[in-house]
């Protein structure tokens, strides 16, 4: 089934699903406007496929931060398809482009956006990522979401490095109305130990752990993360159930290195893409999926506490290309 049929099916979806799409729509509106109008303009400027068309298309994809190598692979594939299928009309090619972009992401599976929950006892989610990507805010959004689903949520403030991080998370826990354990300027693994003990004693369903934003090449900070994993696994076997890497949509090629580095030292299970409500396209997730094989599980579409949505590639592309259908 081609992507276009998929897109058309999306439009027929239930009200609830539609609402989700609308949210995507709203968050991605600026992104979509820019990208779609540019892609459409390109189709108007060049009705027939030419070298200039390809060059400008490459420019568009690079500007969307899709990743240099991914873009170059993609362009090669596209050129081959154009040759093989004898495509000359840019209007038809526009459909092929979307289709191929979709394939980059869905290739090799691993698409689930579902969180892996513990069969019994608390589900532990460890949040990691570099400085300033929005880990703490994402935790607040996740806590809010699961609290509304009737879960008992605990936040653990284990970012004992950055000034004010624990206080920031504590304020969020008060706003959300969930439990909180955290302490500044101590060993983060110790804080986690206390938090998990608390979770077991108080029948917590979901534990969200905030960690320090560590730049990916700082060996000692990485060791700290390994220690945290050991502590978590000792208290609750098979935990953490999810380790989510938070990535800022405005990040460029460095996001690939972040994903690789974190995947090398800990078992990253998915990505949360934040700050998608600006003008950034977050295209780097396509490159990350292609090279590091990590799926996106959630996207942050705004500063409001409810602005976190499960990632759905169809909606994502729908949000990016709706005007063209």
């Amino acid at each position: 089934m081609g992507l276009f049929n998929k897109l058309k099916n999306i439009i027929k979806k239930t009200d609830e699903e539609k609402e989700q799409l609308n949210l995507y729509d709203k968050g991605l509106e600026k992104t979509r406007k820019e990208f779609v109008s540019k892609l459409n303009l390109l189709g108007i400027k060049y009705t027939k496929i030419s070298e200039q068309y390809f060059e400008e298309l490459e420019n568009l994809l690079i500007m969307a931060d899709i990743g240099v190598n991914t873009v170059f692979d993609f362009m090669e594939k596209l050129r081959n398809r154009v040759k093989k299928e004898n495509i000359s009309d840019t209007k038809y090619l526009t459909e092929v482009i979307i289709d191929e972009l979709f394939i980059i992401y869905v290739d090799e599976g691993n698409l689930t956006d579902k969180l892996n929950e513990a069969p019994s006892g608390p589900t532990i989610i460890l949040m990691v990522g570099v400085n300033g990507v929005g880990k703490t805010t994402t935790i607040a959004k996740l806590a809010y979401k699961y609290k509304n689903l009737g879960k008992k949520v605990l936040m653990i403030g284990a970012d004992t490095f950055r000034a004010g991080a624990v206080a920031q998370l504590k304020l969020w826990s008060e706003k959300v109305g969930c439990d909180f354990i955290g302490k500044e300027k101590t060993d983060p693994s110790g804080v986690i130990y206390d938090g998990l003990e608390y979770a077991l004693k108080n029948d917590i369903d979901l534990v969200l752990i905030d960690t320090a934003g560590r730049l990916q090449n700082k060996v000692n900070l990485m060791n700290e993360l390994e220690k945290m994993n050991r502590v978590i696994g000792k208290i609750i076997p098979n935990a953490p159930h999810e380790t989510l890497l938070v990535i800022d949509a405005t990040t460029g090629q460095n996001a690939i290195m972040q994903a690789e580095a974190f995947k090398n030292i800990t078992n990253i299970t998915g990505i949360v893409l934040t700050k998608l409500d600006g003008t950034a396209k977050g295209g780097i997730v396509l490159a990350i999926k292609q090279s590091v094989k990590l799926p996106v599980k959630f996207v942050g579409l705004g500063e409001g506490i409810e602005d976190l949505q499960p990632f759905d590639i169809e909606s994502y592309i729908y949000g990016l290309f709706k005007d063209m259908v």
Partner: protein, 435 residues
Amino acid sequence: MFEYLGDRLSKAIQNIKKMGRITEDNIQDAMREIRMALLEADVNYQVVKEFVNKVKEKALGAEVSKSLRPDELFIKIVKDELIDLLGNDQSQLETSKNPTLLMLVGLQGSGKTTTAGKLANYLRKKKSKKPLLVACDIYRPAAISQLKDIGSSLNIPVYEEGIKDPLDIIKNALEYAKTNQYDYIIIDTAGRLHIDEQLMNELKNIATTYNPSEILLVLDAMMGQDAINVINGFNEALNLTGCILTKLDGNTKGGVALSVRYLTNVPIKFVGDGEKLDNLSEFYPVRMAERILDMGDIMGIAEKVEGIISEEEAINQTKRMQSGKFDLEDFLQTFKQIKKLGPLENIIKLLPQARKMGLNDIHIDPKQMAHIEAIILSMTPYERRHPEILKASRKQRIAKGSGRSVEEVNRLLNQFEEMKKMMKMMKNGQMKLPF
């Protein structure tokens, strides 16, 4: 930052090296490598295109002189064009008014609050000024307490009134600064999206009401192609006077540094290159270009060392080194000073050809450094001055005292002897320093 360009370039110019002159053919590979390296470093697509065209044009038109080989000439052209992109001159911080008002703006998570602290620290330490930090991030939970934490760790006062209209806070802060004779006021504002009209208006209001001497955009060096939208958004609303690039440590290639000046004419004034509050450096286009091309940044090292190690001490120790009288006591002093410089990796990376020598990925475990210190500290001062008296029983005592093994004590002593030999060789001119 993007050392890769230096690497890719040196491979690509092998073709040119063999030829007598620069031709379209033999620079083709080099041009492609430059283009890829720049794009991988997130340099703006448009800038890459123009840069590549300019280098190509100049290289083809250039006359190979007797003094420069074609490959050297090519590198020189790339370097000159890089400097041109980066903005030729170093841009100083405004100091004319008293008190001077500095306002930091930027997206969420770009590092404004930390940078405010670093800037205050820089002004006091390097410029002997009396800075006041003002907390105006009234939106992000705990942002004010974060700034207060930073302020108290630096022992620099933070003016705050909790969550209130920033216009009022600044008004009172100005008065407070005047009565208490602060000469710099650094305003930390809340992070916001450049397309959030309401919040951008708040900044515009501050700017028109108080007319800050500097409005500095704090920009994450890891930003991708969207950087240009952000810079333009802030610049159009606020007429930025400069830019501070943060998070330029790590593996960040920081291509945005090449885009900012060229596309917007906003100069980069500072670079944040580490987690410590000392890690803020003035931005020098020439040095940055040399770093990009793996020519090293000796001036950068000198500046880092300056202020931490006094000249007198340095001369003294060099003399002792040269006279062969360098003992473990001197070693300990040197060691302590080096520790003050922050992570050694950051210094080593500034050495010329660091990448070629494989030093750019070096990791120095701070724990190991601590072990060395512990071992030396477990010696008596006499032992430090005369390490040759250290025999089995003394070594055992030292090992016990430092919690390390005798092997480690031996290793340290051996390394120290090696070092002394090297120093003597350097003095006798048998060995040159790597730079």
